[in-house]
Amino acid sequence: MKNSKDFEIHHFYQNYLESQNRVGYKPRNKTTKIDYEKIGFMSGLEVHQQLKTEKKLFCNCPAGIFQKDGQYDAELVRHMRPTLSELGEYDGTALMEFKTKKTIYYRVAHITTCTYDVDDTPPFKLNRQAFKIALEITRLLKSFVVGELHIARKQYLDGSIPTGFQRTGIMGIEGFLPIRNKKLKIIQISIEEDSCREISDIGHTRIYKTDRLGMPLVEIVTYPEMKMPNEVVETAQYIRFLTHSTGHVRTGIGSAREDVNVSVRGGARVEIKGVAKISRIADLTHNEAFRQVSLLEIRKDLLERISDLKNWKIEHKILNGHQVEKLIKEANGLLKKGHKIVVANLPMFRGILSFFNQPGRMFSDEISDRLKVIACLERPNMLHSEQWDVDLNELFDLVRKKLDAKNEDAQILFLSPLEDIATALETIEERCKMAFEDIPVPNETRKSFANGTTMFERVLPGADRMYPDTDTVPIAICQKFIDEVDKELPKGVDIRLAQFIKWKVPKDAYIYLLSKNLVPLMERIINDFNYNPKFLSTLIAHRLKHIQGQIKSASQFDFDKLYDVCGFVKKECLHREIISFMLPIVYEFPYMDPESVLREINFKKHDHEAIFSLIPILIEKFNQITNSKNPDASFRWMMKELKPMAIGNISMTELAKVIRKELINE
């Protein structure tokens, strides 16, 4: 008996590993451009960038004030109901969300939320500040600006917006962003309101807070033309440089979020939602691409096995009794009061449930995700016949017997309140059937995790969810307004990059300088005080960045302080290297005057002669303390001894030259 158990465990784990091989999954750093070409990797981005405005987009609540989860003054409840689109059809997502029957709670703080936000008052006039910034970004992306902004209602039935729709409108279409030696093409740029932040989503209850709701965003959508994960990362980076270069967007955690579309040849467009960290995009797109390949492989298997696809269906039974309960309890204690034990047989699905899906995930997780989202069954929500983490042999022997299952079938056991059973069974059958459809990758949005994997979030909505907004009037974008915005437009990212190459800025400094929009500041320092651009770039992007990681500034650090410090050093005829030593103090105490900063680091003025005069004395001292005849050792020791006194008074390169000369002379 024991042997057969071991065999079973071995068997499905083996299956997982073998299927991973079949799919051709490798870690990202071992995957080449050719590998991605082979599977037909394609990706596009939707970047959501918050705009720096005082108020929200359609009401006069302050933007950018956030409440903690427990901080709220009132709570209200809504249910979302699908409505007809402008073209007269119900949207797929809408129907799914309606099926889930969620009760949505909004936790409202008076300071961040008004009756508009919770849909009890019609919208106020569109925020002009946001409108202008959106146009600025539209112009930077060289798009076709529309003649008139029409606000649309984009349905979201998940409750993330209390109205059930997001107000959004197109500012421009068909732009591009020049990167390196190609043009990255843009589909459209829109201005829209941000959504609520989710507090929790358990069972039939979802809770949101409304602080972020209604804050103005731009959404930038690229064509799906990126051919490998690193390219997607790079693109996201460039878009961030561009939006930040205006100086009119919010920065910091959560201020920019990317939705990433991925597909492979034979697969379908899947959208990974709300990725807040650009660096995560690489693994997420990589894993998603191979998830799709795995679904394509599964389809091949199923087509071979199942002859009558049309009539394929699951069988189910509701079990009860002491024995089955005992076995479940032994497995993982899934039992819940009032929940029924439901088992389903999936004909011809043996080996599919344990098929590789993503690192650490298998096909069964696709089903489990949907049970959570659509049928509102909290995870862990099921057991299945191909698990190897717990011993389920006895339990599933019983299940197979009850279901009259055949050897080539697979089984799922789940627990559910009576009223959710029908939806749960429908959900299981629906997901299984998708596995052998012509395109076996369901159009869906997926939620991302830090480890690079994703889970089902909802069905991908189509154009059917768009409605014109009957509460707002179109806003003309006239040439005069465009000209006005053009006058203040920052330089394009491509021009900045050319400038970096001319300045000999090290590559690893690009991201920091561009994303913080520091080039205009550098230009001022270079022009006014004649600093070396390369020195300045490393001073900021290496030294200051390092300091930011080590020290907490008393307030939001104002980069303009750098201008003052550089000016001071220039005026006092100090050597620029002193700035590196001043920076930690300047960063920690931004209001301290430069003289005090110098005192703080014990700087004293010495002329060159005074420093040089110490060299012979030090040579003598070195010879006394050591027998080493290594000239390098004495050089290094002397530099170390003289540095505190010399820094700021003389360049280290010059000092080194003089010491070496003296050593040779000696």
């Binding site: 709220y72 003054d73 009132a74 709570e75 209200l76 409840v77 809504r78 249910h79 979302m80 109901r81 699908p82 409505t83 007809l84 402008e86 073209l87 007269g88 119900y90 809408a94 008076h110 009756t115 919770v118 849909d119 009890d120 008052t121 019609p122 798009s143 076709f144 600006v145 529309v146 003649g147 008139e148 902004l149 029409h150 649309a152 209602r153 349905q155 039935l157 209390p162 109205t163 059930g164 729709f165 959004t168 197109i170 279409i173 068909e174 589909i187 459209q188 829109s190 189509g462 154009a463 059917d464 969810r465 768009m466 409605y467 014109p468 009957t470 009037v473 179109p474 003309a476 006239c478």
Partner: protein, 460 residues
């Protein structure tokens, strides 16, 4: 031809004509700003004549400035097919028969491109498609009496509605629901309270504060509450059924003579003034909040009095009001005036001669209070006594709009001012109440700690 250029006028229409591009065709438009492609949509008639609306493939609409257009090519024709999925409304013997009268409010709706407004959907099949829960509550039949916006409801409609209700009751209906725009719902509720007295079944007015073309609309739940009330409640009165809080939780049943819309847009805009509502209703039950309501009966003895004198006026008094307003009302041969006065029912001295003249000319003049809560009391100050002596009749705690409707209805029955007075001051369905209960006046003030605690813990 107008169909070809729906809503377009002036320059925009000219350019469509010039390039022979019609509404609903797939167009490619070259402009100085770039090339745009999409379906040409009708334009809202209120919008300007300088833009063409395109629906892009992404589902978004954009406007193209006519002055930027260099060339345009139109192809094909794809008219949107608005249809609310229609399914036959299931009928079952053990469910009550409910009649839904439509007046033009939006219970379920679709969009009208010309105005950008929503068009109501109404047949039982359409309603069943949009709100399938209705079939669990009742057997529904519908009758669209008129299609007017709330602000256009008036005496002519009140009379038609009252007669239709009377007829339905005689035919044996179990309950009546009236879909109504919310702005003047309380006027209609008052009118029906007077015109349809002693009904044996519930008569429920319902509407929505958020149109049903949006997912968060209160329309479906309000309709569910209203049909539930009409089918299952024991309350045989004219009522308004609307959200009790902004949350999707429960509705309140307000007596038709004491209800008023108190917010321009809030879901829970309707409030019973100077008293408490009759009951709370949710999907599952109706919970009475008081027990003095009229009960459902088997008989069909309803008294319908569909009359209304239209030459009456409701005046909102303000300091510095000039008597010429009153004078002109008299000169225009109005038969009644309801004044919404300050405080306990006051107006300024310069108006007195005009009021006196009105009384002499046989115009019925009644006083109500613009504070909405509380009674008119004209005995407290001498000025009030003066006013009464020159002919103003205090209308107790009747709401100004209710007094207006009642006066029209009373003058519709008789021009004998003594009889009118008797009708006016005899309470009907609590339009005047003998007493104001302690919890009849509750306007909580935000910011006060205990109130804040209350709104945090209970859904407002």
């Amino acid at each position: 031809m107008s169909d070809f250029f729906m809503g377009y006028k002036g320059k925009a229409q000219e350019i469509l004509k010039k390039y022979n591009v019609r509404v609903w065709s797939e167009a490619k438009i070259d402009t100085t700003r770039g090339t745009f492609q999409g379906i040409v949509l009708p334009r809202s008639e209120n919008d300007d004549a300088y833009h063409i609306v395109l629906k892009l493939i992404t589902g978004y609409n954009v406007g193209i400035a006519v002055e930027t257009i260099q060339n345009m090519v139109g192809n094909g024709y794809k008219k949107a097919n608005y249809k609310i999925p229609e399914r036959e409304f299931p009928v079952s013997k053990d469910k009550k028969n409910i009649k839904l009268f439509g007046t033009g409010g939006t219970i379920a709706s679709r969009l009208d491109y010309r105005t950008g407004a929503v068009i109501p959907a109404f047949s039982p099949g359409e309603l069943y498609g949009a709100v399938p829960e209705l079939a669990d509550i009742c057997n529904l039949s519908t009758d669209k009496l008129f299609a007017v916006f709330s602000e256009n409801m008036g005496p002519a409609q009140y009379k038609v509605l009252a007669k239709a209700i009377g007829d339905e009751i005689k035919r044996g209906i179990d309950g009546i629901v009236i879909g109504h725009g919310t702005d003047t719902m309380h006027h209609t509720a008052a009118a029906l309270s007077f015109m349809v007295q002693n009904p044996p079944v519930p008569i429920v007015l319902v509407g929505s504060q958020r149109s049903s073309d949006r997912p968060s609309s209160d329309a479906a739940l309000n309709l569910i509450h209203a049909t539930k009330t009409a089918a299952d409640s024991d309350i045989a009165e004219v009522m308004v059924c609307m959200f009790g809080s902004t949350s999707d939780e429960y509705g309140l049943l307000h007596r038709g003579t004491r209800v008023r819309k108190m917010h321009s847009s809030y879901r829970s805009a309707f409030r019973t003034i100077g008293d408490i509502p009759i009951a709370k209703v949710n999907r599952d039950e109706i919970v009475p909040l008081r027990h003095d309501y009229k009960h459902r009966r088997k008989d069909r003895d309803v008294l319908v009095t569909p009359v209304f004198e239209e030459r009456i006026s409701l005046i909102y008094y303000y300091p510095n009001m000039n008597p010429d307003i009153i004078e002109s009302i008299i000169d225009m041969r109005y038969k009644g005036i309801v004044i919404s006065g300050t405080g306990l029912g006051h107006i300024n001295k310069p108006l007195y001669p005009a009021i006196k003249r009105a009384a002499e000319k046989g115009v019925a003049v009644y006083m109500t209070v613009q504070t909405l809560w509380g009674y008119v009391n004209m005995f407290v100050y001498d000025t009030g006594r003066d006013l009464m002596s020159i002919g103003i009749i205090p209308a107790e705690n009747m709401l100004p709009e209710v007094a207006y409707i009642k006066l029209g209805w009373a003058l519709g029955q008789t021009s004998d001012l003594e009889k009118v007075k008797e009708i006016m001051l005899t309470p009907i369905c609590d339009d005047i109440t003998e007493r104001e209960p302690y919890n009849g006046y509750l306007v909580y003030q935000g910011g006060i700690p205990e109130v804040e605690e209350f709104i945090k813990n209970f859904h407002k």
